[in-house]
């Protein structure tokens, strides 16, 4: 356990060293080294700017994500449970390959440059993984589990609530985790395209780009990476806690 952690630390240090060497060799404003970026990062954190941008970005993501969960989760379960919905899935399959970023022009036309258009892009990003995984979780419920419920006297409704949905938890939670990850990636790109208020990590990067401050750009990128990593780790941990029963089943 400790060995793995030391190894991870070593790898990070090695990467930072490599970065420093490259930056030193290239010696250009385009490639700021880790120390400079680190200094900028600390500066932004201490001044509270970074926190402000991060919180706003997070708020946008959470809003879009919750919206997606609210709609895609029950829809996915319903689509998986009801045999008639098979046809509906055709539309889903056609919409899914469209990358969320391609929706940006439409989002800006429909919702403008404010909060709603960002939330919309994030919603699109999170929607399909959540929908798919909920759908699959339900669909892939082993029929003998359903039959077991039946012989024990459960109604269709009870089978859905007490057997199918709990059994689908691992799949659903994974869908949520993936959806949140994609939502986070979409957010920054969405923020790069015009904003009503000058806050957000994507905005920070866009502004730094205009001003030619490559170190701020990288500091922003690091913040995005770190937050994304934390969110993913938290969700993973939650998954493991909630789904203790999965064990090593394949």
């Amino acid at each position: 356990m400790n060995q793995m952690r030391t190894q991870k630390v070593f790898i990070i240090l090695f990467f930072v060293a490599l970065w420093e060497i490259v930056a030193y060799a290239v010696n250009s404003r385009f490639v700021p080294g880790p120390f400079q970026v680190g200094r900028t990062f600390v500066q932004l954190t201490v001044s509270g700017d970074l926190a402000e941008h991060a919180v706003v970005s997070l708020a946008r993501v959470v809003a879009g994500f919750l919206l997606a969960v609210f709609i895609a989760l029950p829809l996915g379960i319903f689509m998986g449970w009801s045999p008639r919905m098979e046809n509906f899935s055709v539309i889903v399959e056609m919409l899914r390959p469209i990358p969320p970023l391609a929706w940006i022009p439409l989002a800006m036309l429909w919702f403008g440059i404010g909060f709603q258009s960002k939330v919309f892009i994030i919603f699109i990003g999170a929607f399909f993984p959540i929908l798919s995984n909920s759908f699959l979780g339900v669909r892939e419920t082993p029929p003998y589990l359903i039959e077991a419920g039946r012989v024990l006297g459960a109604t269709d409704n009870e089978i859905l609530r007490r057997i199918v949905i709990p059994n689908s938890f691992p799949s659903i939670l994974e869908g949520l985790r993936i959806g949140l990850g994609i939502a986070w990636m979409c957010l920054v790109a969405a923020e790069l395209t015009g904003l009503k208020s000058p806050v957000g990590l994507g905005y920070l990067i866009m502004e730094a780009r205009d001003l030619g401050k490559a170190d701020v750009v990288m500091a922003g990128m690091i913040a995005i990476g770190v937050i994304g990593y934390i969110m993913n780790a938290v969700l993973r941990w939650t998954e493991n806690k909630l789904v203790r029963w999965k064990g090593d089943q394949t």
Binding site: V151, A154, P166, N167, K246
Partner: protein
């Protein structure tokens, strides 16, 4: 207790069950033996109300249609609810019947004792061995105290020792609870060990071929001469169905 009259089933052009009629006495242990794929699972599921069929099935004199509270079922697969503990699995049928918590607790407690699963009440299925999972499955099926227990090759995926142990356990519980058991298997040795009566089914479409009452004393000895003879006889009947 159970009576099948002219039970048939086809899916499209494919005939699966062909005009099956037979009775089952109350408290009897009946084994259905047949070649693989003959339709024995379909037959059992039809009795349970999980499949449609042509013909009639009577349970204690009344025609049974659909799920019947008097019937418990044990599946061929490992069919415990993986997201529920041992206790939770046993509780399921009782919850559905809206039995109050205290009573449920007592029933589950006595089941744990009966099946000798003390210490595993809060274990999840994935933590149990195959044999124990099967025990819990049987417990779950009889938790609501159905008079009839249908079992579809429940021990087929277990190793020989575990299977033998479970067979003995099953007989012990049968003798204690006096349920009517219809047990499907393709393993003749198992059938002879367990059953009061063995019915051999033809290959698909299944129909009743021959009946063999087993008149051996309980606490049967697999190595005894009589056991081996009966087994030989039934095997011969069965083997014919495998040829062609």
């Amino acid at each position: 207790m159970i009576r099948l009259e002219n039970v048939s089933k086809s899916i499209g052009d494919l005939e699966i069950l062909n005009n099956i009629s037979f009775p089952v006495k109350k408290g009897e242990f009946l084994c259905l033996v047949g070649p693989s794929g003959c339709g024995k699972t379909t037959l059992l599921k039809s009795i349970a109300g999980l499949r449609n069929y042509a013909g009639s099935i009577f349970i204690e004199g009344t025609q049974s249609e659909g799920i019947n509270r008097k019937i418990g079922y044990v599946f061929q697969e490992f069919s415990l609810f993986p997201f529920r503990t041992v206790k939770g699995n046993m509780d399921f049928g009782l919850e559905i019947q809206k039995i109050p918590r205290k009573e449920r607790h007592n029933i589950v407690k006595s089941l744990i004792e009966l099946f000798r699963l003390e210490g595993f009440e809060n274990a999840y299925p994935h933590e149990l061995s195959g044999g124990m999972q099967k025990k819990v499955a049987i417990a779950r099926a009889i938790a609501t105290n159905p008079e009839i227990l249908l079992m579809d090759e429940p021990f087929v995926s277990l190793d020989a020792q575990t299977r033998n142990m479970l067979q003995k356990e099953l007989l012990r519980i049968w003798q204690k609870t006096q349920k009517t058991i219809v047990f499907v298997t393709h393993n003749v040795d198992e059938a002879v060990f367990l059953a009061d009566r063995v019915m051999v089914l033809t290959k698909r479409p299944a129909s009743v071929k021959t009946e063999f009452p087993i008149k051996l004393d309980r606490e049967r000895d697999r190595t005894s001469y009589k056991f081996v003879e009966v087994r030989k006889e039934i095997l011969r009947e069965l083997e014919v169905e495998y040829v062609d």
